[in-house]
Symmetry: C2
Subunit: 129 residues, 2 copies
DNA sequence: GTAAGTGCAAACGGTTTGCAGCCTC
DNA sequence: GAGGCTGCAAACCGTTTGCACTTAC
């Protein structure tokens, strides 16, 4: 446990929104942490593998990260600030499985992401991203 | 209408699977077409904008393209060969909209992709990708 | 003839990696 | 003291772009 990891864990604990590795790195820098971008990437990747963090591909292709519950779920995420709400749609899961089976597809996974603009961002108007 | 475009259109007409720009470029080269990678990217981007081609983000992050029907739909795609089946789930659309509205999110879009291994690929065993 | 399209190669942006040094236990 | 972790900078990879040349009409 290095202070860099402590810092990442701590900031992930505070954020309730998806942020990119670079954004997380910038936030840590702002707080005066000494940490390299590579370390952020490396540790995030490790946490993704261990299941402690969720990755999601933003519409622009950049990967964004957020601490998450371990069970399978999807997200309703704000396109501007990244604020996300976990959603579970048992019906969807079932439907996808069944549909795939119908066509003979095996080893099925699915990716579902809902993007919108959250109330706060909508109110504050045309923020970037 | 240049011969390069004709070639791209022609190959898109034959493929019933999602392929990346680089894969499409390689296929064209194999056929002896003289065409640059940049041209493939440029023309694919144009067709995406005009709605004649669908893009999809493969799990590895690379963008893959396929000629598609114009109306909104999703895909069940083979993880190995890219073969895809169009699916439309009115129930999903509705559910996503409603869920987003419930949480006050506006300007809602969603991305749903189902990945699996198609019967042919499953049969032929451990092909790469 | 002219405007649009093309190829090349360089630029780009996010991400990964090799390696030498540093820190934690 | 030893192994793992870190930072830096370079490498990577898919994609985009500037620019001079070519092509289709």
């Amino acid at each position: 446990m290095t202070h860099q990891r402590r810092a990442i864990v701590s900031i992930l604990g505070e954020l309730q929104s998806f942020q990119s590795a670079q954004e997380i790195h910038a936030l840590l820098k702002e707080r005066g942490e000494t940490i390299g971008l590579a370390t952020v990437y490396r540790y995030l990747a490790r946490m993704v593998k261990s299941g402690d963090v969720d990755v999601m591909n933003r519409e622009d292709g950049e990967s964004v990260y957020m601490r998450c519950s371990r069970q399978h779920h999807h997200h309703l995420a704000c396109r501007r600030c990244g604020r996300a709400i976990e959603i579970g749609g048992p019906a969807i899961e079932q439907w996808a499985e069944q549909l795939a089976a119908q066509h003979g597809y095996t080893d099925v996974t699915h990716a579902l992401e809902i993007f919108g603009v959250c109330p706060d961002c909508a109110e504050s108007g045309g923020d970037t991203r």
